[in-house]
């Protein structure tokens, strides 16, 4: 057996070991990698920055810890971005009963992070509302489009100093009668729940999507048709958004360079309070290593196949 034939039949456990070692090593190196954000991620940043002051944002958080490598970064970026703009928000889940708890934990962490930095501490009932889980995404989104007050009727929120109040009395939702009154709806998801939201609600509210790399391709047709106003896809999307937050869009830095360029577009400021480069930058180097490894494996597999074919009398597979 030549080395090339051995390469053809390499034990998958060896591949797994190499991957595990390389990926783990990557997590210890945090560097700011210059990038060229995807237009879809840049559009999402711009859409969020364009939400008018005082409008409430609806977040449909449909991710769980299994996809936290991507989705947690998305959700954290979204929270930091909304909080830096002082926008109020409502969050709920329509895809997984576990999702609200995962979102709550992440939100609590971001609030604490901001508190430690001496920034404004978001309060439940005052600045945000936690609606919990709605079974049946299809019916939930449909009802929200027909009559938001009916779809969320009977929901209550806790509020410091006031006990439990109706969500419609809270400052977060007092100006929202129908879904059209919301500033934007952002779906953070690892599943097809974004499809349902687009089908039921895209004519009524501006929709943004933060999805995993796997779900990304199915959202791009909606983005191309302008039914979704921006999509951050996968880990690259997480980093793209962080990069936009740190550098603005069409914004000149001290040296007069524009790091995120949108030809013909207007200028968007960068985020000046709180963290900007966070989870995305931490994981982005690892993504590079994993991809290089994957490409190497594919190239080696092919070279091995080609060389073993060249050998006289070699069996063709």
């Amino acid at each position: 057996m030549t080395i090339w034939e051995k390469l053809q039949a390499v034990d998958r456990r060896i591949l797994y070991l190499i991957l595990a070692v390389c990926v783990s090593a990557g997590l210890f190196i945090t560097i700011e990698i210059p990038t060229d954000p995807d237009p879809s991620s840049r559009d999402l940043y711009q859409a969020i920055m364009d939400i008018p002051e005082g409008k409430t944002v609806i977040i449909q958080s449909d991710w769980t810890n299994s996809t936290r490598g991507e989705s947690m970064g998305h959700f954290e970026n979204l929270l930091r971005l909304l909080m830096s703009r002082n926008l109020k928000f409502v969050f709920y889940s329509a895809a997984d009963p576990i999702a609200p708890q995962v979102a709550r934990t992440t939100l609590a962490r971001i609030i604490k992070e901001r508190k430690d930095e001496g920034l404004y501490e978001y309060q439940i009932g005052e600045d945000y509302i936690d609606l919990g889980y709605f079974a049946n995404a299809e019916a939930t989104n449909l009802n929200m489009g027909i009559d938001l007050r009916n779809a969320w009727s009977g929901k209550r929120t806790k509020k410091a100093g006031a006990g439990e109040i109706s969500i419609w009395e809270s400052p977060v939702l007092k100006d929202v009668r129908k879904i059209e009154d919301a500033g934007m709806m952002i779906v953070v998801t690892a599943s097809a729940s974004i499809d349902v939201a687009v089908q039921r609600l895209n004519k009524k509210v501006s929709i943004g999507a933060m999805v995993t790399g796997v779900v990304g391709p199915t959202v791009l047709p909606f983005y191309q048709a302008k039914q979704v106003n921006g999509v951050a896809v996968g880990l690259k999307g997480v980093y793209d958004l962080e990069y936009c937050m740190a550098n603005g869009v069409n914004l000149k830095d001290e040296d007069g360079n524009i790091k995120v360029l949108n030809k013909g577009g207007k200028e968007y400021p960068k985020i000046t309070e709180g963290k900007t480069l966070a989870r995305g930058s931490k994981y982005y180097g690892t993504l590079h290593i994993a991809l290089i490894l994957l490409i190497l494996a594919v190239v080696l597999g092919n070279v091995g196949m080609a060389m073993s074919r060249k050998k006289p009398g070699a069996k063709r597979s």
Binding site: G145, S166, A192
Partner: protein, 323 residues
């Protein structure tokens, strides 16, 4: 039509509703037509479906079970279709006394699948071959389900696996686990995101709507064959729409802008354009209006009597706080 004044197919305009009804007509008409001819209409060969018999045969030879997974979606058209295909697979498996394992991630799908599979065995007169463990509920948590099914694949050393339905990230876990023990795999997902994974890892893959064509192909039931033909007519209609839309839109956008569409505060109107000469933009075209109907001022300002039950903003908010 006075009673429809101010009403509008707001979401889609009339065009979407009209097209949906046309597609429904195509399907029902072809079902009626197929019933007359006894379902004797041509369906092209689908490789993934021819493999079903081979897979069952192999499992029978090896004396090992067949695994069937209807995805992790709720009880809907997708999982019902998957269970329908599994009923056909079970029919053949029952005749050869090959054991089956059907693993469900949703209790609703489990309840339906259990009934269907039991019926299949009793219709074949082989109720004794049906075991209550044949259809199993595992967990409705995605990765708990993935772990459970992977365990079954490895412990029972399944010979063939049918992965048909709505799959997400667990698709590759199943496919590669099956691959590691040399099981033959027939897969198909309506989630286009998972099809690439299945293609990379499985022996046979049903792409897109081949999944829905499967039961027509396997049973040749007139209703199913007719419906399949209706779907094909609908596809021709869709293709025609795309081509026509492309041509009309392109032609329209070459024209100079004379009447402009203005959308303001939920009201839209067409206004003569008198500025510098330019071409129409996408939103000024007729094709755009088909999908985004004009909402005129009159529609927005229809007088209605006040609701006597309405208690005003504050009271309504307080009253809203129920269970």
């Amino acid at each position: 039509m006075n009673f429809l004044q101010g009403s509008q197919y707001l979401d889609t305009g009339w065009f979407g509703v009209f097209s949906t009804l046309l597609v429904v007509f195509f399907i029902l008409y072809n079902i009626a037509r197929a019933k007359k001819t006894g379902g004797n209409l041509f369906i092209r060969r689908i490789a993934g479906l021819n493999a079903i018999d081979d897979a069952i045969g192999r499992a029978t030879e090896m004396g090992r079970p067949i695994l069937m997974v209807p995805g992790i979606g709720d009880l809907d058209a997708v999982s019902v279709q998957a269970v329908n295909i599994f009923a056909q697979v079970t029919k053949t498996a029952a005749q050869f006394a090959t054991p089956i394992k059907l693993c469900c991630a949703r209790a609703t799908v489990y309840a339906v699948a259990q009934e269907v599979i039991r019926d299949v065995y009793s219709q074949q007169g082989m109720s004794d071959r049906y075991s209550i463990d044949s259809v199993q509920y595992i967990s409705d948590q995605q990765f708990a389900f993935a772990a459970g099914v992977s365990g079954i694949i490895l412990r029972e050393k399944v010979a063939a696996a049918f992965l048909l339905g709505a799959f997400y990230a667990e698709s590759l876990i199943f496919a590669e686990t099956c691959n590691s023990i040399g099981a033959i795999q027939v897969a198909g997902s309506t989630q286009s995101t998972q099809t690439p994974f299945f293609i990379a890892a499985c022996d046979y893959v049903l792409i897109g709507d081949e999944f829905y064509a499967a039961s027509a192909y396997l049973t040749r039931e007139p209703v199913l064959v007719g419906s399949l033909l209706g779907q094909d007519w609908a596809k021709i209609l869709m293709t025609a729409y795309v081509m026509l839309g492309f041509l009309i839109m392109s032609a329209e956008r070459l024209q100079p802008l004379a009447v402009q569409r203005i959308d303001e505060g939920g009201v839209s109107r067409m206004e003569p354009y008198e500025g510098e000469a330019k071409r129409k933009t996408a939103s000024d075209t007729m094709v755009h209006r088909l999908f985004n109907p004009l909402i005129t001022e009159e529609m927005n300002t229809i007088e209605r009597e006040p609701n006597p039950d309405y208690e005003g903003e504050e009271e309504a908010a307080n009253a809203g706080g129920g269970a």
